[in-house]
């Protein structure tokens, strides 16, 4: 059986950062991704990121992705693309279907799972029609493949994904007929929301989709106001002409591999649902396995990169590649950057959710297993 010191699953912002950190520390790293290109969802993020200078604020996601890839290339990190990890078992064995052909069994001294998250769907009559898609799917189409999925788009959800993708749809030449939000108030950062509003896009709070209608694809959509108990308010239905409905209704961590591997789970609504238990070193209840990025709780690419650095550093340290004092200092610096990213109204909730996971680890003594 082939062996590697550190096997990383997922070459998105978290996995790439983990690979760079672990390889810099001197680990033999293998990075595996099922896609034909590394970068995960970074290359469709054509907007400028938030945060401080250290967090690469003011730089577009797509350029951050290019830099990360360059770093990985300079370190000659081994990368397997078009390769799917189908299972992790016996704590350190990784089953890969390489190049969509060959089955390979690998052994990793440490495994870092950075599989990310997938978009949530919401169900309404007609939700299956072509033209209803994840906002992220539309973002991939416009920014990566340069294809406009529709001319008149309704955005469902006013969080950051909803408003950012709305703006990017406008940039790509679509008309956004509206942004609807089930909650009584808008959910995204003011800067992004304001840009969409200034472009003249109507926002509807306390509104949901009543139905999407059309023969072979969406042709129109009925929206309706809901009361505080989420019941439709009679007489408030509006019909909008739209050929596309984008769903920006949150994400769910992709935890299958971690749970297959036996990592214990915890539930955090703020972080997107079930996530593997982990401590602040990003270590799970299975000693050899670390996690980083959206699998450990849905946040942003900037937090995913820092978590990746943490997982890469701590995995390297646990293998003896970084001395304890050095690991502690560098770990603290990463944690400080993570704390800074988790500040503010939205960030604080995520910080608290993370901390309650860390302390639950400590209480149940899972970290020591």
């Amino acid at each position: 059986m082939e062996k590697r010191e550190v096997i990383i699953v997922g070459a998105g912002p978290a996995g790439l950062s983990a690979a760079v950190e672990a390889a810099t520390a001197g680990c033999g790293v293998l990075l595996i991704d099922e896609n034909s290109k590394p970068g995960g969802q970074l290359f469709k993020q054509i907007h400028k990121f938030f945060g401080s200078q250290e967090h690469k604020a003011g730089i577009r996601g797509i350029d951050i992705g290019k830099r990360l890839l360059e770093e990985a290339e300079n370190l000659h990190i081994e990368v397997w693309l078009d390769s799917e990890v189908c299972g992790i078992f016996d704590a350190n064995k990784v089953w890969v279907v390489r190049n969509k052909k060959e089955t390979v069994l690998l052994q990793g001294d440490r495994i870092i799972i950075a599989t990310g998250a997938s978009e949530n769907a919401v169900h309404f009559p007609g939700w299956h029609l072509p033209g209803v898609m994840g906002a992220g799917a539309a973002q991939t189409m416009i920014n990566i493949h340069r294809v406009l999925p529709g001319e008149k788009v309704l955005m469902v959800g006013s969080g950051n994904v909803g408003v950012i993708v709305s703006y990017q749809l406008l940039q790509a030449g679509a008309e956004v007929v509206g942004v609807i939000e089930a909650a009584p108030r808008l959910g995204g950062y003011g800067v992004h929301t304001a840009k969409v509003r200034r472009a003249g896009v109507p926002f509807f709070v306390s509104h949901v989709v009543a139905a999407a209608e059309g023969k072979d694809r969406v042709e129109k959509v009925r929206i309706v106001q809901v009361d505080p108990r989420w019941n439709p308010v009679p007489g408030t239905e509006k019909t909008l002409k739209a050929d596309t409905i984008c769903l920006a209704t949150g994400l769910t961590p992709l935890t299958e591999l971690a749970f297959l591997a036996g990592c214990e789970s915890t539930y955090s609504p703020v972080l997107g649902g079930h996530v593997p238990w982990h401590n602040s070193a990003m270590r799970t209840s299975v000693r050899h396995i670390f996690i980083a990025g959206d699998i450990s709780g849905v946040e942003e690419a900037s937090t995913a990169m820092e978590e990746g650095r943490m997982a890469g550093l701590q995995a390297a340290a646990s293998l003896g590649h970084v001395d304890e004092a050095d690991a502690m200092i560098r770990g603290k610096a990463i944690q400080a950057r993570l704390d800074a990213l988790r500040s503010g109204l939205f960030g604080e909730k995520r910080k608290n959710a993370k901390e309650s996971i860390f302390s639950a680890m400590g209480n149940s003594n899972n970290g020591a297993r």
């Binding site: 099922e34 054509i46 406009l148």
Partner: protein
């Protein structure tokens, strides 16, 4: 559904003849950009129905775009259930709208 030729951030789409490759979709020759996913090529050509369901023949298209939901599967070079959002186009690829779970070897008479 169309190509985005101009973009304020990403710039103009320089489409050279070299980058254009032919594919066959339900017997018709269409053109795709080399390296793009099948789903993107179809949408750029105005196609939104990728398959029809087994019982009700209800249309389905792209949904998640990252290879997880399997809503966009089609018969590609005679192989059914190929996820078109994560499968790149190849020259002269034979792509067919899938009905139900699709039939192996269905190339619409082409080889």
């Amino acid at each position: 559904m169309r190509r985005i030729e101009h973009h304020p951030i990403l710039g103009d789409l320089a489409e050279t003849s070299e980058e254009r490759i032919p594919i066959t979709v339900d017997g018709k020759t269409l053109y795709a950009r080399k390296g793009e996913m099948i789903a993107a090529a179809l949408m750029a050509n105005g196609i939104s129905v990728f398959r029809k369901t087994e019982k009700k023949k209800s249309p389905r298209g792209i949904f998640c775009g990252i290879g997880r939901c399997t809503d966009c599967v089609m018969i590609v070079n005679g192989i059914p259930n190929v996820r078109t959002c994560v499968t790149p186009v190849e020259e002269n690829m034979i792509i067919r709208t899938q009905e139900g779970s699709g039939e192996w070897g269905d190339t619409g008479g082409k080889t």
